[in-house]
Each structure stands twice: as structure tokens, then as C-alpha cells.
Amino acid sequence: MARVELREVTKRFDQMVAVDAVSQVIQDGEFFSLLGPSGCGKTTTLRMVAGFIEPTAGSILFDGRDVTNVPAHRRETGMVFQHYALFPHRTVLENVAFGLRMRKVPQDEIRRRVRDALALVELSGMEQRYPRQLSGGQQQRVALARVLVIEPKVLLLDEPLGALDKKLREQMQFELRRLQQKVGITTIYVTHDQEEALTLCDRIAVMKDGRIIQVGTPAEIYRQPASRFVADFIGSSNFLAGRVVGASGGEVEVETPTGWRLAASEAGRQRVQAGAPVFVAVRPERIRLSTEQPDLANRVHARLQGMKFIGDAILYQLTLEAGEQLTVKVPADRAAPQLEPGTTVWLGWRCEDSLLLTE
């Protein structure tokens, strides 16, 4: 187990900057996620930690020891690849034993440790199977056993659930979390799936264009996104543009171009100047929809465009006068009576549900 530190790590491919001066400390035993859209540099960062590619600048430290120039095979990381990369010509047993064999561990110890690792991922009895004879979920668990058996300093997961179907993915999420907690290993988890990151990880670093733009616990990231990009990437959000017109007692008042006054809590954000252009972000599930004027700090008039039944909830699509699009999510059992598209309704939400964003 180790504490991983990235110091100003940069990777350039020709002229393209894939990772731009990323500095981040990942604590011993932490389940840390790199989250971002494809091309944001998260996989490149992970591959630099594994030692497959060399940073153009900066350094990587494990427990304070600089490993930037340590080759991949001596770095003691355990990587689970997106498509598992199990050796197709080797049995499950041989796959899991591979790392121990490379370390010249005695035969009987290999046998014991492989057995324990397979028991840990609940694959005992599968030793003699070939990877192609296993289901996707089983292959995934062999890949995990194969890296956990060598007791690596850091577990690196590159979109490990990406190749599984939805049901299995959810099941494996719990499995992964259980294993990580049981082994207590420092884990870096790369994903573009915000839901996965929110459910699994202790902390999330949201990446964009090669930089980490926000780091925090899932709750912090979800409740207080630092920018419009994060608010939109983690869950979904409605954004209303406006200008600051005043502030009092931790509340900021924002006026939209069409004259609606919105209240937003400052929530420890940087101070905003009066007149500054800002966004007010509000989550779809935080908005109340009614036909009468609501008794809430924020209320706007909107025209219903359409609705979509998504099983446990109904999504209402609405527009304001200036053409801003809004989505409101109402649990199916609390759904408003049947509304005709074109109806004008009231939308309302509490002050603490609207978030002030400056970028």
C-alpha cells in the first residue's frame, strides 16, 4: 500500500498536451477516481503511474520515493485493463500465478497465494479454465485476482467495468468496493461514468483538457460543483445566466435577462462582484412544478414543451421566455396531473438548491 503523489506531471505527444501539470496526492488506502470525458488525459495519467509511458515533465512518487524512472515491471503497480488483457493461452491458474512466477516465488507459496486470491474473488474451482471459457464478469475477477495476488502498492483500474452490460456492471461495482475495502489498497480508478465514480470512490478528481479542475468527495462534487462543466458532467443541471444585483447574509441575488430575481446561497464560494455575469445552476430533481405560484425563494414562469417517462420518474421539458431550456425531474408517484404541452406552469426551488457559478 502506498501514498501516491503526482508533481506537476505533464505529457505532450508532439504538439498535443495530453496531461498538463497535474499535481495530486492520493492517500494510502484511498479509492480515488479520475473522472472525465474521453480525451481528458485520465488514461494517460494512469498509464504514467503504471510506467507504460514516461512523463514529459514532472515526477511521480510512491510513499515519497521518486519512481518516475522506474520501469513498469519494477514499479509494483497492479493494473486492470479495460478488456482485462488476460493471457488467452494460459489457464486461470497460470494467469493468476504469472506475477508470482516472474518474482521467482517458490512453487508451494505460489499455489497457496493463487488459491487465496481466487477465493477472494470467488472463483475457486475455475483454475483449469481458459479465459475464453469464462463470462465477462468472471474474466474481470480473474484480472483482479491476477493483480491483487502480487500485493501491489497501487491498484490501477482503467475503465474496468466498461465492457460489461449494465446489470453486471452494477453488481461488479459493489464487488470492487468490497474487495478494495477488504484489501485496503490504494486505488486509482479511471472512468468516464460519473455514476460509477460517485458510488465507488472516496474522492473524485474531475479532469478536463489534461487538467484536474476539481477534487472532492462524491457529495462535495455533486452538491458544490466548482464550474458549469463539473455541474453538467456530474449528474445533470439546469443553467440560468444572469447578473449579480446584490448580496446579503450569505445570499446572492441574481437577475436574469428577462427580469426574474433568483436567490442563490454563496456556500463558501469566492465573493462575486455586483454586476458580474454568473450562472445559477439547479438540479432537475430540486425543482418543484406547480400550477399555482409556489412559496419558494426562486420561482419562474415556464412553458411546458414535453415530457418523458423514464420509469421511476418523469422528466418535464420546459422553456422560459428568453428561450432557456429547463428540465424538471419529478418522481413518478408524485407526478403532477396530466399537463398539456403548451401549458404555462410555475417552477420553484429553494435558495440553497441554486448554486452560483462564475465559469
Binding site: H73, P88, M102
Partner: protein, 308 residues
Amino acid sequence: MARPALTGRPATESRPAPPVPAGRRSRGTRLLLLLPGLVLFLAFFVAPLSVMIAISLMRGNPIAGDPIVFTLEHYRRIFGDSFYMRVLWNTIKLGLVATAASLVLGYPLAYQLARTREPGARRIMLVAVLSPMLVGIVVRIYGWMSILADTGLINATLMKLGVLSRPLPLMYNEFGIVVALVHVFIPFMILTISGVISGIDESLEEAAENLGATRWQAFREVTLPLSLPGILAGCLLVFSLTVSSYVVPILMGGFQYMTLPILVYQEIAGIFNFAFGAALAVLLLAVGLSVIVLYYRILSLVGQGVLQ
């Protein structure tokens, strides 16, 4: 709606006939579909081979009034004479050496070709590998002659420099033939192996390194065994091409080095001994066939995990 079969009337004509499942075509249709392939196979493989095998079992010349008799005497002559056995061994040895040399020289190139991602570099490598095939075989061999002959580039230079007092025997021997054979047939080895390697997921090697294998160990443990089908196929191709090659051994060996194809040609075109030539050709065919059998044997032995 009542089913036509129950009403006793034929199926309604207005309905389009359901597509006939592959397994239920009538016998006639199936034979008709087989016909083109069958004709080709009969005309170009079965017929000539049968004729050759039949001739190899005959003696006599009806034109000269010598009646035709079926006999095994040609085969008895081949297996009873150490000269022919030596030629057979020479031919096989040439094939083995040229195949091994092509493999050793070709594998690194094939690997590089498969793992080069940059399209420009890839194209240049591919053209370089294929370029020998764009030049006629005779022209290429004259090229080798001007390099390897007693008065050729190498010997002339070394003698001028005083390193040698008499030329090295680089031609008109096994060495010269192998050099030219490798040059001619190595593209088959490279392309076959490279095709298999490019199908091996690169992250397998990374996974091996991640688990503590050095570059070399990762190659030996993962890529090499997984490329075995390509190695076997490449060897099969190069071996069968070299044992049956005629031009290279004759020009580079200068008739000093006898192989089965040269002997077959001499018997048939030189002294019109069709029957004996056919028997030698059958022997050559047997060599090729036994290598193919060996190929499948090895493949099924190692194939367990290698073949998907």
C-alpha cells in the same frame, strides 16, 4: 386461416415462396452449386496428380513397340540408390536451413511491421518487404551473383584489400543457394507472421510487464507463444516453396548442388524418362504433404489456448 395442407389444396400461389433454408435445397441444386469448384478441382488437381502418379507406376513405350507394364521399379530404384537418397536429403536440408534463416531474420521485421502505428513508416516498411517480389527472380539472382561470385563485390574487395589471397566460396554451394532462397521467399514469412502479431492485443504485453516481466520475458511468455500459428504457417509456406524451387538452386548452385526439382527436370526434359521423373515428383510431393501433416499435428498440440 386454414393451413393449405389441411384443405388438400396446393399452397396459395399469391404468397411468395419462403426462402429455402440452406440445408433443404434439393440434391440437384446442391450439386449444381458445387459444380464450378468441382470442375476446377478435378481439372487442375485431381487429374494431373492422378496422371503423374499413374505414369510413375508404368514402364514401356507403346510407340517403340514396348508394351506398357505397371511396376514399382522406379520407386525401388530411388530408394535403392544412395545418390537419390542424398538428393532427397539435400533438398530437405536446403528447405530446413532456408526456412530457419527466414524465420530468424523475418520475425523481428514482422514484429516491427505489426507494431508500427505510424502509417507513413508502416507503408515504407511494407514496400521494402514486398519489393523483392516486384523484381523478376532471375534478375535478383544475377544481382546476388555479382555480389557473391569469385570476382564479385565481396571477394574482389577483400582481395584488393589483401585480406584474402583466394576468393571465398560464396557461390555454387549450399550457402549461395540459401542466401538467394531466403531473399526470394522471406516476404512470405514476414507477411504471415506480421498478420498474426498484429492480431495480438498490445495490452497483453503491458499486462505482463505490469506483473513484473521484463520486455524480453513479456515477449517470450506472451507474444511468442501467441504468434506460434503465424510462425508455423510461415514456415510451412517457405519450406514448401524452397523444396520445390528450381531456378534458384540451378543458378546459384551452378549444377553443383543437386535437388529433387532439378533432377525431375533433367529426367523429364533432358532424357525423356517420364516415368522416373514422375516417381521423383511424387517423392517431392510426399515431402510437402508430410510437412503439412506435421503442421496440423503441431498446431493441434499447441493450439489449446493459442487458437481462439
